[in-house]
């Protein structure tokens, strides 16, 4: 009997169309897998078995009735708990939202429902998406299926771990500074941060509005492209949403999988590729090998320099906390969520926030409040915005010369849970290669590049493209994926150690 949880979403969809499997069977298989392994992995904060099966039954009935169905109809999906789902608890990983049931759907939620994909549940994340390890979740960390002692990345560690543990074939993520790409990197899965404005943010609980972007997570480049098409497109509820056609990402993935990259110019960004140290040897080694594959498919590889990236991390840690300090002000106990009664409204707000927010959230609220304060605004927020402009200019200059830019997604393979929890700077540095894309609003992908020799843990390969050119990520990504899976004899996730089934 086929273990459908190991299949790709594209294969599941095709098998359903051929009548080889039903959505109820697929959904049940994933729910069973979740029951079996999620006690150890803790990818999910909330599981909606009834809702998922109800959708699955409807899809099966519709298919039986000969209805025309969307491409991914019946394929189950997990949603990061940052996205509001009507009738399903949504916490953004924070205790302050414990028990809150949103009265409305985010735009991406609506699109997933319209695509008739059973929603398995909501995945764990660092509280309000602040973190790179899920250790800042108010509900306990997620464990990396490759090694349960290690971090699954963050903030979207739940979504990535769910994919790597075969608990879901697809997942929604959100990426403010790498929260899709870094978890993808450390779990050997694929994650894409689309162009800013490419996917509606309406219903995504905001961390830093000018950096946040929802995006697709999958185990293959094609699956990720299929989900990208479901999620993307103009939305009048999001004023920053691009009013343009969705880039042809699925076509690009098919195109890339043919393995021909002739005429494609690829730039290796010196500043985020470990040229000056700080990157693990095994990471650099796999990165170099991936470059060789790209070259062998006809791509031209050149080195480019983006000198302003040196300041990107610092600028990011001014802009993000500034916006977050304002975005998180609404969590005041007045209209929703936790309430710690303390006599009057002012004290009640303060007490609720003191109890409901974790340390990292408080740290960033304090940072942001300070950075926006009168007398400091120009020195901090103002300067950070200038750096942002410089980073954008660096990208513009680079993309004038090359089609895509590449780097390792993260400097290291996944570190151990607890290893950096008391060292925020070490934690922040993990995102050094992913942050520039958010500052510039450009799209980025992480896909598996292999396992580092020294620890046998996943290494991610990052591809960046100019704004609106998301399709390039998929073309180059699919080509590299094909070359590597040919070499590995299948998907890298197949090499992950078997989880204990309980």
């Amino acid at each position: 009997m086929t273990d459908w949880t190991r299949a790709s979403a594209a294969d599941m969809a095709a098998a359903m169309r051929r009548g080889e499997v039903t959505s109820v069977e697929l959904t049940r298989a994933h729910l069973e897998r979740i029951s079996a392994v999620d006690g150890d992995v803790h990818a999910f904060l909330h599981i909606d078995a009834d809702g998922a099966l109800a959708t699955a039954r409807e899809v099966d009935a519709a298919r039986d009735a000969g209805e025309e169905l969307p491409a991914l109809a019946g394929v189950p999906i997990a949603i990061k708990d940052v996205l509001v789902t009507e009738g399903l608890p949504t916490t953004a990983g924070s205790r302050i939202l414990e028990g809150w049931i949103p009265p409305y759907d985010g735009t991406v939620t609506k699109r997933i429902r319209a695509a008739r994909m059973p929603i398995l549940g909501k995945t764990n994340m660092d509280e309000f998406a602040m973190g790179s390890s899920t250790e800042h979740s108010g509900y306990g960390p997620t464990h990396n299926p490759w090694d349960l002692e290690r971090i699954p990345g963050g903030s979207g560690g739940g979504s990535a771990a769910a994919l790597a543990a075969f608990e879901a074939p697809l997942a929604v993520g959100s990426d403010t500074g790498g929260s899709i790409r870094q978890p993808a990197s450390v779990t050997a899965t694929v994650g894409v941060k689309p162009t800013y404005g490419g996917v509606s943010r309406f219903g995504a609980i905001a961390l830093a509005s000018s950096l946040d972007q929802l995006g697709p997570c999958g185990r293959t480049v094609l699956d990720t492209a299929l989900l990208h098409e479901v999620m993307a497109g103009h939305d009048e509820m999001d004023a920053t949403s691009l009013d343009e056609p969705v880039p042809p990402v699925v076509d690009a993935a098919h195109d890339g999988a043919r393995g021909d990259l002739s005429g494609v110019r690829i730039g290796v960004v010196k500043e985020i590729s470990g040229a000056d140290g700080g990157f693990q040897d095994g990471v650099k080694q796999r990165f170099e090998e991936s470059l060789e594959h790209l070259r062998s498919m006809g791509a031209e590889i050149v080195e480019v320099s983006c000198p302003s990236f040196e300041y990107a991390l610092a600028a990011y840690y001014v802009i993000l906390p500034s916006e977050a300090s304002s975005n998180l002000a609404k969590f005041d106990s007045v209209r929703f969520g936790m309430r710690v009664e303390k006599g009057n409204v002012e004290r009640t707000m303060a007490a609720t926030r003191a109890e409901g927010f974790g340390d990292e959230v408080k740290r960033r609220i304090i940072l942001g409040t300070y950075a926006l304060s009168a007398g400091y605004y120009d020195a901090y927020y103002g300067s950070a915005q200038k750096v942002r402009t410089l980073v954008q200019r660096d990208f513009d200059a680079a993309f004038a010369d090359v089609d895509v830019l590449v780097s390792p997604t993260t400097p290291t393979t996944p570190f151990k849970l607890g290893e950096r929890i008391d060292d925020p700077m070490a934690m922040y540095l993990n995102d050094i290669a992913t942050i520039p894309a958010n500052l510039a609003g450009i799209p980025g992908m992480s896909l598996p590049a292999g396992l580092a020799e020294e620890d046998g843990l996943p290494v991610g390969f990052q591809i960046l493209a100019p704004a609106r050119e998301d399709a390039r990520l998929y073309r180059v990504g699919a080509a590299l994926e094909r070359a590597l899976t040919d070499e590995w004899g299948g998907a890298l996730t197949a090499q992950a150690p078997e989880l204990e089934v309980k």
Binding site: L83, V84, T90, A92, L97, W100, P102, P103, Y104, G106, R201, F202, G203, A204, I205, A206, A208, S209, S210, E236, M237, D238, A239, T240, S322, E323, S325, S326, A329, K330, F331, D332, V334, R335, F336, V345, E346, M349, T369, L372, S373, A374, Y377, Y381
Partner: protein
């Protein structure tokens, strides 16, 4: 030095003031969401995830509100910025659902204009406009228990229906040189703003419902010695009196602040820079929070919204839609209608100008229209404690009423009864006249019978008239009017009486 009068205060000090007017726009929907923008609905029935500030929600700018703001800015002579931004004003307060208000900060859409304000005697004062920017209104807190204030309340209720209603805030530059006319100028300025937003039809301009609200900043400085330049004397510390919400209250608040500050200064005490609350009942202000320890609003550009970038063509198109300046319109109407200064001022103060204009438009003579609106209807509105436009009578009704009088169908007394019927919801004047049977009795035989009956009841009167005491006929006219319940034409009755007495009228 207690007991100082306003006039005495202004002999010693020179007032400088500024006004922030908040205009609630009458767009169909709110500033950043699709909820209805309507006054008076059940609490929290005109709300959605966006104006409730629920997690995940995002604002989208109401283009109609932008259009209204630009038209208002153009009416105030402002420049329209090619690219302006919204900003977040961060502060925690339960009526601000997101704990930040979306406003505009360093890049308001409309900036640097000026407005000519015409005082009652025709003097024109030019007020400099610093900016007119868009923002969203807050919800409304109701404090339960105690005296209705936040102090001593047992709990508070928040109604978010008003949260997110579009506002334009108009800020003046400091206004100097108004001396003893300071209160008059302030009042006239706000009245002009109100007239403009009504003429633009971007707000209903109802100060009593809070759709036009004013905050008044005022400071005093010593009067310059003779021959010295007053404008060279530095400004004093100012107070900001919040929510002064009627034209009369603006005058009163300025009077109060002038006297209060002058008394402090004369006693050698400092004026504290602070916000103050206006109390309509006592005509006084009390301190709010001190501006010295003002909140830091941590403004920054609203990242959820794109800049507002109206094209030049659109701005020019909007400029073409601007109505006549209210002062110019008034001068024109005064001429056309032949009103005296007093007539005109009273009509303006009663907010009756457009009602009179519409009545004239519907066919009534200007003086007749004025007489109805400023007489009978003004009294009724006053008795009912409502404004003229709240009365259930339209300018067309008034015009019809006057037509009935002019045609002799009813007399003035009957017309008042007909109006009473209209106000009671009985229908149009014509319908009320018909249903109540109010037509003047014009049938001579009926009148003659009534006259004969009255003469028979008072036999001495006929002799008096025949003796030349013609005024004695009044008693018979009165009796006939009474007998016909006022529906007789008094002039005709008189003629019949005189004919009966055989004397010439």
């Amino acid at each position: 030095m207690a007991g100082l009068t306003y006039e005495q205060a202004l002999e010693r000090f020179d007032p400088v003031f500024g006004i922030e007017v908040h205009v609630e726009l009458n767009t169909a929907t709110k500033m950043f969401c699709g909820c209805a923008n309507q006054f008076g609905a059940e609490p929290n029935t005109q709300v959605c995830p966006v104006c409730l500030g629920l997690p995940g929600s995002m604002p989208v700018v109401n283009q109609k509100a932008v259009e209204s703001a630009i038209r208002l800015g153009l009416s105030l002579g402002c420049s329209i910025r090619e690219s302006s931004r919204f900003a977040r004003k961060n502060y925690f307060y339960p009526d601000v659902s997101k704990n930040y208000q979306i406003s505009q900060y360093d890049e308001p859409t409309c900036f640097e204009g000026s407005l000519d304000v015409v005082l009652d005697d025709g003097e024109v004062v030019t007020v400099g406009i610093e900016r007119a920017h868009m923002e969203e209104d807050a919800g409304k807190n109701t404090h339960v228990g105690g005296t209705g204030g936040i102090q001593g309340a047992s709990h508070s209720l928040v109604d978010y229906n008003r949260g997110g209603v579009p506002l334009v805030e108009i800020v003046t530059h400091p206004i100097e040189g108004t001396a003893e006319r300071v209160a008059e100028v302030a009042r006239a300025y706000v009245a002009t703003i109100r007239d403009i937003v009504k003429a633009l039809d971007i707000s209903d301009g109802r100060m009593e419902q809070g759709s036009v609200r004013a905050d008044v900043n005022l400071s005093l400085r010593p009067k310059a010695a003779a021959g010295e330049d007053q404008s060279a004397v530095p400004f004093g510390k100012r107070s900001e009196t919040k929510n002064v919400n009627s034209l009369r209250a603006i005058e009163r608040a300025i009077h109060h602040e002038v006297v209060r500050q002058a008394e402090l200064l004369l006693a050698g005490q400092p004026v504290v820079q602070e916000t103050r609350h206006w109390h309509e009942d006592t005509g006084s202000t009390t301190p709010g929070r001190s501006k010295e320890q003002a909140e830091d609003y941590r403004y920054f550009p609203e990242p959820d919204l794109l800049p507002v970038e109206p094209s030049r063509e659109w701005v020019e198109e909007l400029r073409g839609t601007l109505p006549e300046h209210p002062a110019k319109m008034r001068a024109r109407l005064k001429d056309a209608w032949g009103f005296s200064d007093t007539d005109m001022r009273d009509a303006v103060n009663a907010d009756a100008l457009d009602l009179i204009a519409a009545t004239v438009e519907a066919g009534a003579k200007p003086q007749a229209a004025r007489k109805w609106w400023m007489g009978e209807l003004a009294r009724t509105a006053n008795d009912r404690g409502v404004t003229l436009r709240d009365l259930p009578v339209t300018p067309a009704d008034v015009a019809e009423l006057q037509q009935l009088v002019d045609a002799g169908t009813i007399n003035d007394k009957l017309a008042r009864q007909a109006l009473e019927g209209v106000l009671a919801g009985e229908g149009s004047p014509r319908e009320v006249v018909a249903s109540r049977g109010l037509e003047v009795v014009s049938d001579d035989s009926a009148l003659e019978a009534a006259v004969d009956e009255a003469l028979a009841a008072q036999p001495d009167v006929l002799a008096k008239i025949q003796d030349g005491k013609v005024q004695a006929a009044g008693a018979i006219v009165g009796a006939v009017m009474k007998a016909t319940r006022g529906q007789a034409d008094a002039g005709r009755v008189r003629e019949i009486i005189l004919a009966r007495a055989g004397v010439e009228g």
